[in-house]
């Protein structure tokens, strides 16, 4: 399409272009709004690095230094990511699997509610971090103990949300399942599970965020690789550019993982309109 049209011999911008310009400006403005805090933080960081008298060992390394350090450390950080994910993924997946299965069972069988809920009320609020030293002592490898801790942390939010979703199952779905004669495993698989998916995904979101917290904390205790370990290691050696690079990188990995879960949620819940 051409950018202009001619009317009575005068050149006028085509309607496409007329509409596109304000739309483009609005989009640009929105992008600016979304990144404003980042820009302010980056500027403040740069200024602090320049003007704060910190001597030879700057606690606040300049952004540019951090970014170049980040680039140099990428291979090491990538190895750390793999090591961390070897804990996070099995722990989180196991928690999701067992959390959903037990949540569905407890949410649909009143007797299991009477058995499980009194226990969950006491066990779930215990901060999983307190298990870390004992898990490390009792399990053969650090990886296993960290998986266990991540599992405990992610299990409860998934379990609670799944059970809540199953309990909140709308009467019309129960009725329809009853009419069709759906029962047992089939009823839970075809009706209760999909109907509870919105709840399940919010439980998984909380569980995944919590998994990252527990993972990095566990790595401070006894890992010889991993994202939390990277940060702790260079902090011990007062290599602050690397430490800060590690923090930024961990933040990015966490953000990307949460985004991936969000994409999965949207895909699974396409029917929710």
């Amino acid at each position: 399409m051409s950018d202009t049209v001619t009317l009575d011999g005068r050149e006028l911008p085509a309607t496409d272009a007329l509409l596109a310009a304000p739309a483009r400006r609005a989009r640009l403005l929105r992008l600016l709004e979304a990144s404003s805090i980042w820009i302010v933080l980056l500027a403040a960081w740069q200024l602090a690095a320049i003007y704060l008298p910190l001597g030879d060992n700057p606690l606040i390394p300049a952004p540019l230094l951090v970014f170049s350090t980040l680039r140099e450390s990428l291979p090491e950080l990538w190895a750390g990511t793999l090591s961390s994910f070897a804990i996070l993924i099995p722990g989180f997946l196991l928690a999701t699997l067992l959390g959903v299965a037990s949540g569905l069972a407890v949410g649909t069988v009143p007797r299991l509610q009477r058995i499980f809920f009194p226990f969950a009320r006491v066990a779930a609020p215990v901060p999983p971090t307190v298990y870390i030293p004992y898990a490390i002592a009792i399990l053969p490898t650090f990886q296993l103990s960290a998986i266990f801790v991540v599992f405990i942390g992610a299990f409860w939010p998934v379990f609670h949300n799944t059970a809540a979703g199953a309990l909140a199952l709308e009467q019309r779905y129960r009725d329809n399942a009853g009419i069709l004669g759906l029962s047992g495993i089939e009823y839970r698989w075809r009706v209760v599970l999909p109907a509870s998916l919105p709840h399940i995904f919010s439980g998984m979101g909380v569980g995944l965020a919590f998994s990252f917290v527990l993972l990095t904390v566990a790595e401070l205790f006894g890992a010889n690789a991993g994202l939390g370990r990277f940060v702790q290691f260079y902090a011990d050696y007062a290599d602050y550019p690397k430490m800060v690079a590690g923090i930024l990188y961990t933040g990015l990995v966490t953000y990307l993982s949460m985004t991936l879960l969000e994409l999965a949620r949207r895909r699974a819940l396409f029917w929710l309109r």
């Binding site: 019309r172 009725d175 329809n176 009853g178 009419i179 069709l180 004669g181 759906l182 999909p194 029917w271």
Partner: protein
Amino acid sequence: MSTGLILEGVDFAYEDTPILERISLQIPAGQFVTLLGSSGCGKSTLLRLLAGLQAPDRGSLGWNGQPIRGTSLERGIVFQDYALFPWMSVVDNIAVAIGKARPETGKAARREEAAEYLRKVGLESAIGKYPFELSGGMRQRGAIARALALGSPLLLMDEPFGALDPVNRARLQDLLLEIWEAASPRKTIVFVTHDIDEALYLSDRVVILGAAPGRVIADLSVDFPRHRDRRTLFDGEDFRTQREAIAETLAADTLRRLIAA
């Protein structure tokens, strides 16, 4: 052994509030009956009892000589809305019903048969779609297709067209009659509505329920010949007389309740 529905002295209360009181009815197989009443008269509750979704406090319900206990594929039901599972495609919704009703049917055959029922209700365009992609009228067509696919000889319908616009409502009424009249033997249909015209147009018999608590206050037979035509029927003298009589019965019940309160 008697065929059809038999209700004897059915009482039902919800948390000490009586909803239904001493409901006794005999509905022979193949009859199209509407339960008519104002909202809150317990007509939907009565339908839930017939479906076996709830049990009465007293009295008995029987279908073809068997007591009604729990749900059964013998008794299909269509609700006012949200009858289909939103996470399954329309065709899968119906294929699931077929799988339950006739488990010996293979997976591919189920889908084929489901598509057949969708064509029957004029939904061939929606075969691969999900309920959220359909209008309210199309969803109700899907719900009817599913109820038909179950093959239940007794069809319970709880204000199935209540949420539709007048045009779609009329279309689906015609569709329902067309399918019901064509079948042999005809299904027994218990149809709940609060719309007098709908009751008279569709059914062989109108059972009027009074409210608080729900009980039968009138039981009328509707004798207009079948293959009814909406326009000539609605203009007819008999229709108008019967319509007024029903309206008066309902108004008298409302008045009685207001005086009692």
